[in-house]
């Protein structure tokens, strides 16, 4: 009984501290945290497809963009458009296209599928640039703040609360999804499609589901991004963004929800180290990735993951102590 009370107090304290962040730290810090949250949502999306189901997606920026533009389009046309519906639309449209891609997944697998995702990404970037009447073309379009009834989430603080709240909910759902039968089906498919089928796992159902959910998450992330940045332009959804997403899940650890968080943080912190000089950052990531692949005995699957697991374990241990 005493123990529960303690735990509750700690939990409440954590929430209060969390809510206080905007007041303890400046606007910029809060903004960065919001971006991290968005990246976490995107990472979770990528992880579901790439980490758990084993399909490497090089075009996930397409879903990010679809979600972002969906929000941008409704939130710029209709003042006071409810954000929840906006985000749901973003996720759903994205998810539907993901579902469609999932059907491509049934005809092929492995590298062919990865190349197909690459194609999707390149096509969507062009669509964003050229469908000027809808998307404003390369110049992009402005986004009005998220709304709930008459409330507007305008300031960085309000956006932070909104985004982190949604991120937390989505994280919670993702963890439960992975722990469920659906999550296990995904992993089974990753390990061996043939074995999975012999267990009665329908490839049709689960591959398309994985694509759809992954796209949904990434789409919602895109929608949040649109609200946060208050502006969307095609350049945010090009192949370089897509590669960033891949890097996030690889660096954070494939097939791990906590890894999604780790990857998101690392990916956001990195530019700061390079003073925002993009090409050094990319160069550096490329070199580090190569070193990991070449020097560790099993490359990305071996010692690196043991290292990451160890880091996660320490983080988890600390959580348990609280």
């Amino acid at each position: 009984m005493n123990f529960n009370w303690n735990k509750f107090l700690y939990f409440a304290l954590a929430i209060v501290l969390f809510l206080a962040i905007p007041f303890l730290f400046g606007k910029y810090f809060v903004f960065v945290l919001s971006v991290i949250c968005i990246f976490i949502v995107v990472s979770i999306g990528m992880n579901i497809l790439t980490g758990y189901t084993g399909v490497l997606s090089l075009g996930h920026q397409a879903f990010f963009g679809i979600g972002a533009y969906t929000v941008a389009i409704v939130a710029s046309r209709i003042e006071g458009f409810p954000f929840l519906i906006g985000l749901l639309m973003a996720g759903s449209l994205s998810g539907m296209i993901g579902y469609f891609m999932g059907f491509a997944a049934l005809r092929t697998s492995g590298v062919y599928l990865t190349i197909a995702t690459l194609a999707l990404g390149i096509i969507m970037e062009e669509v964003f640039s050229e469908w000027i009447s809808l998307t404003g073309g390369s110049a992009g379009m402005a986004v009005l703040p998220p709304a709930l009834g008459s409330i507007r989430f305008d300031s960085s603080t309000e956006l932070f609360y909104l985004i982190s709240f949604i991120t937390a909910i989505m994280f919670f759902f993702a963890v439960n999804l992975i722990a469920s039968n659906i999550g296990r089906a995904f992993v089974a498919i990753r390990e061996s499609e043939i074995s999975a089928q012999s267990y009665g796992i329908s490839l049709v159902k689960y591959k398309t589901l994985s694509f759809a959910i992954s796209a949904f998450y990434t789409g919602v992330g895109g929608g949040l991004y649109a609200y946060l940045m208050k502006y969307v332009a095609p350049i945010d959804f090009n192949i370089h963004a897509g590669i960033q997403f891949v890097m996030a899940v690889i660096i954070g650890g494939l097939g791990s929800m906590l890894g999604s968080i780790l990857g998101a943080i690392i990916l956001l912190v990195l530019p700061q180290l390079f003073g925002g000089i993009v090409y050094w950052q990319q160069f550096f990531i490329g070199v580090v990735l190569l070193m990991i692949i070449l020097l560790l005995p099993e490359g990305l699957s071996g010692g690196y993951y043991r290292l990451i697991s160890w880091v996660r374990h320490r983080l988890q241990k600390r959580k348990e102590c609280v």
Binding site: T108, S109, G110, V111, I115, L118, E126, V287, I293, G299
Partner: protein, 294 residues
Amino acid sequence: MGLIAEIIQQIIFGMVMGCIYALVAICFVLIYKGTDIINFAQGELVVLGAFIGYSLRVTFQLPYWLVFVLSFILSGFLGMVMEVLIFRRVIGKPHLNSLMASIALGMILRNAIGKIWTFDDLNMPPSFSDSMLKLPLGLVISPLFIGIIAISFGIMMIFYLFLNKTKTGISIRATSQNMTAAKLMGVSVSYVSSMCWAISAAIGSIAGILIAPLLVLNVGMFIIILKAIVAAVLGGFGSLPGAVLGGILLGVIENLAGVYFPAWIKHVFSWIVLLVVIMVMPQGLLGAKKIKKV
């Protein structure tokens, strides 16, 4: 210009671009056949070759034939270095490693090229005259076009002879069919791997130098070159004749699409073709059975 003439004109343009796609697709498929690796950095290798050619021509003022030769050798050497340093070491590891390795290499190359040369656009002097000659029916063609097509076919023919008549070529074919058996015949798999990367980079550089005057010489060019992957898939992954067929076909239909659709569709047309091929006919035109697991 009448419709027929317009179509023929676009076919001419398409043949030019198609030859380049074909060359790069050959490079891509060669590495796949010889080493089972998907080289996502193929575009960057071609761009690197183009920039090397630019320096040889513009900075060192060398005659173009020498530019081609030196670039071929230099790029071939760089390709071999990349194989030895990077790709030889990923052979035993799970496939995700080789995929990510080529993606990482692409990132490094793109940014290295930008840092060493520039991230801005450069004007690549054409290897043949690019002034348009007038033909009947209002068609135009330039010596550059003819040069590109001629050199491309020349390379393809030499490559064909290389694969079928030389010991190295035969060992590459054997390795791609059955690596274990090839080893037991005395074929050195590392040698095959090095040669595939060297040749791929070398031919790629020629393709880059040829096409750069028609596109803009810029690091971002790699995305255009990446379309050669579509050509490879269209032709049937793992098939070299397929790569040639796929490349030329892709170039032509891409340009024909430009006649009927708005200009920007042409840019993504290849990728739409890719999605269609993958969903409808994944084995491509000249059929390939192997589909690798990630």
